[in-house]
């Protein structure tokens, strides 16, 4: 994050939309665009840790820059263009809403590589997409939740009704009900990724309805604070949220982008970078499971750990049949494993989850 102007004096950019001059001896310029603050303790902090990992791994061979709090849409397109004009060689755009701006800017800067998180559009050969199989982590959290609930009511704070979130609910419910058939999920749709006020209200409402386990697909620590007061338990989301351990935070789903970022930056250096789609889970380390604390009974910790290892080894897929759809119709036959296409576009609940997906 040093001043990079002096490196760019040679880059003649008369048209304003020329591509960056890249000389072999200069440090590789790596840019990151964040939708929120790098201090949000959740999603954006996770990506910032990835940036730090890149800087640490390559040292002087790279220079990292980032712009935070970038609104999705026209503003993102401007920030990306300016980053490319400033000489970036590879840019990571770390929010779903940056999908179209990423592809639009990539078209104009064919020599800059773009990596878009959680999207599906790769319109140009210099765009890749990547995401994590968070549902693998949700399976483990669901397993723990199903064991630990005494009221048999698990509260779930969901963000937006999109496949990613629906997949998480299904995965968590499937594994909670597997160990505790009486379990019931109460889902509150917050319609935000990050809003401590709304998350607090949602968590409180769920606890008032009898929930003693709170799961969240929103990014702040507010639900854990509510759980702490009510004596309920919860899980870290995106970052470890270890400050709430050993309870209410009994474990966590951690996004670990560092290894992927290092791999991709290395590929640009080696000239082997290619457009592709990466969807990694616990195995390659993109999804991490935060330390399970003593608040979880020992045998549950052991069975959860066994599940983590089975998923990591590729021996177990969280969506393995028999699983029916919410209306009772068959989805996966016994032993059948869900294909990635269906998972990527998942817009239905599985059997046992109550309520409707809002529109």
């Amino acid at each position: 994050m040093k001043n990079i102007t002096k490196l760019l004096t040679g880059a003649a950019l008369a048209t304003g939309l020329a591509t960056s001059a890249f000389a072999q001896d200069d440090p590789l310029q790596v840019g990151f665009v964040m939708v929120g603050s790098i201090n949000d303790m959740g999603w954006n902090t996770g990506h910032y840790h990835g940036l730090e990992a890149v800087q640490e791994h390559f040292g002087d061979a790279v220079e990292t820059t980032y712009v935070e709090n970038v609104p999705e849409g026209a503003d993102a397109e401007r920030v990306l263009t300016q980053m490319a004009l400033a000489g970036a060689d590879i840019i990571f755009t770390t929010s779903f809403g940056f999908m179209d701006p990423t592809n639009n800017v990539a078209e104009r800067f064919p020599n800059v590589m773009f990596e878009h998180a959680t999207g599906y559009r790769r319109d140009h050969p210099n765009v890749s997409t990547y995401s994590a199989r968070f549902y693998e982590g949700r399976a483990v959290m669901g397993h723990i939740a199903g064991h630990m609930t005494e009221s048999n009511i698990i509260g779930y704070i969901a963000s937006y009704p999109i496949p990613e979130v629906i997949r998480g609910i299904n995965s968590a419910y499937h594994h909670a009900s597997e160990v505790n058939p009486d379990v019931e999920f109460r889902v509150v749709w917050a319609f935000t990724w990050m809003d401590p006020t709304i998350e607090t209200e949602a968590a409180q409402a769920l606890i008032d309805q009898g929930a003693d386990v709170i799961m969240q697909h929103t990014d702040t620590t507010a639900p854990l604070a509510v759980a702490a007061e009510a004596g309920a338990i919860g899980f870290g989301q995106a970052s470890d949220m270890i400050q709430f351990a050993p309870a209410p935070r009994v474990s966590a789903i951690i996004d670990d982008w560092g290894p992927y970022y290092i791999e991709r930056v290395q590929a640009v250096m080696d000239g082997t970078w290619e457009s592709g789609d990466t969807w990694d889970g616990i195995g390659p380390g993109m999804v991490g499971i935060g330390e399970m604390t003593d608040a979880i009974p020992e045998e549950v910790r052991a069975s959860a750990q066994a599940m983590v290892e089975a998923i990591a080894a590729g021996e177990y897929h969280p969506f393995t049949g028999p699983i029916n759809m919410q209306d009772g119709s068959a989805w996966l036959a016994d032993g059948e494993v869900a294909d990635d296409g269906t998972l990527a576009g998942m817009d239905f609940y599985i059997e046992g989850v109550t309520g409707d997906i809002p529109n």
Binding site: T5, L13, A14, V67, G73, R78, Q82, G97, I162, F191
Partner: protein
């Protein structure tokens, strides 16, 4: 020690001098803050104020972007300024902006796929009506039930945001988008798009309309009876009533015009730079426009300049983040300083500072 003495009328020289003085004070205070963060203050100030306009590396791109960013701010602020002058406080332009965009996009997408050249004008009209209708709720509640338009218009912003989220994941969702939220890319479909009118200038229909609205507001306020009534209602409400100003009509007019302009800003944004209805489509133009209106002292030409200045600090601020690693929150603090000094220095145009001898009562 000091005594503030109200001037009979605001000082003309100070009105012109305070903005320049405010910018200089901001540079000093902001420079100190950047230095405290361990950044070179001179470089930071140069990057924020100079580079977007004149640097060889960025200016060719960022100069047009200045218009793209300033356009909606100016358009919305002009509408708001009319009401503000008359003492009618529409704080909910953000909501009217959202509803304009949704109405415009919905109208267009009903005809998808189409190549008709009449769809886009229809979308613009729908957008204007959307913004107008949303502004009429606080307006009519005020004229008929004496509710407070500040509260109602503000709260309707949050309703509009929920409606936007619902549209993005529901009735406007792109059926070919694999279940992800967000509408079709309107700016990629010719019949729906609001393109640059001249390549690489940033000038689109919304920016053009913003300039026209500046001229229209100037004429309205200075040459037209309605403009006179607006000013009179703000300065002397009782006198205005005796002069035959109908307050109900004035409220409906001012709220309506500001709603229409905010709605138009929304529809031009969604068909142009933003490109689609998404959950986070609104980025605060409606609220920032309130600042722009006051920064421009509710004068059309002042609003034009204030809008461009705000846009400059946004774009320069992003460059400063990118080039120097200055955190976004420091940039926001810097923008805050600019507003603070501008408004604080208003004291100098409205008051005379006199020294007062110690001991005298």
């Amino acid at each position: 020690m000091f005594k503030l003495e109200k001037r009979p009328s605001p000082s003309k020289p100070w009105i012109l001098a305070t903005p320049i003085l405010a910018v200089i004070l901001t540079m000093i205070a902001g420079g100190l803050m950047f230095a405290a963060l361990g950044k070179n203050p001179f470089e930071a100030i140069r990057i924020i104020f100079w580079d977007p306009l004149f640097s060889q590396q960025f200016a060719a791109y960022s100069r047009p972007q200045l218009l793209v960013k300033a356009g909606p701010l100016i358009l919305i602020a002009i509408g708001l300024s009319l009401g503000f002058r008359a003492g009618i406080w529409n704080i909910g332009a953000e909501g009217q902006y959202i509803m304009g965009a949704i109405a415009g996009a919905s109208f267009g997408l009903t005809f998808y796929p189409t190549e008709s050249v009449w769809v886009f004008p229809g979308m613009v009209i729908a957008g204007a009506l959307g913004g107008w209708a949303w502004a009429m709720i606080p307006a009519i509640l005020k004229t008929h039930f004496r509710t407070n338009e500040i509260l109602v218009s503000l709260l309707l912003v949050y309703v509009a945001e929920k409606f936007l989220a619902s549209a993005a994941v529901g009735f406007l969702r792109n059926p070919e988008g694999s279940g992800f939220p967000g509408s079709r890319q309107l700016n990629r479909i010719e019949a729906f798009s609001n393109p640059e009118l001249i390549a690489n200038t940033g000038m689109h229909w919304g920016v053009l309309l913003a300039f026209i609205s500046v001229i229209a507001a100037y004429i309205l306020l200075n040459k037209h009876l309605v403009g006179y009534q607006i000013k009179l209602a703000g300065q002397a409400p009782r006198a205005a009533r005796f002069a035959g100003v109908n307050p109900t009509r004035l409220i409906l007019l001012c709220m309506g015009v500001s709603g229409i302009l905010a709605g138009l800003a929304g529809v031009f944004e969604v068909t142009g730079p933003a490109g689609q209805i998404s959950i986070d489509f609104n980025v605060g133009y409606g609220f920032t426009a309130i600042i722009v209106a006051f920064l421009g002292r509710l004068h059309p030409v002042g609003i034009l300049l204030a809008g461009l200045l705000m846009a400059l600090t946004y774009i320069g601020g992003e460059l400063a983040q990118l080039m120097l690693g200055i955190p976004a929150s420091a940039i926001q603090a810097f923008q805050g300083m600019l507003l603070f000094f501008l408004l604080a220095l208003d004291v100098l145009s409205n008051y005379r500072i006199r020294m007062r001898k110690e001991g005298v009562a």
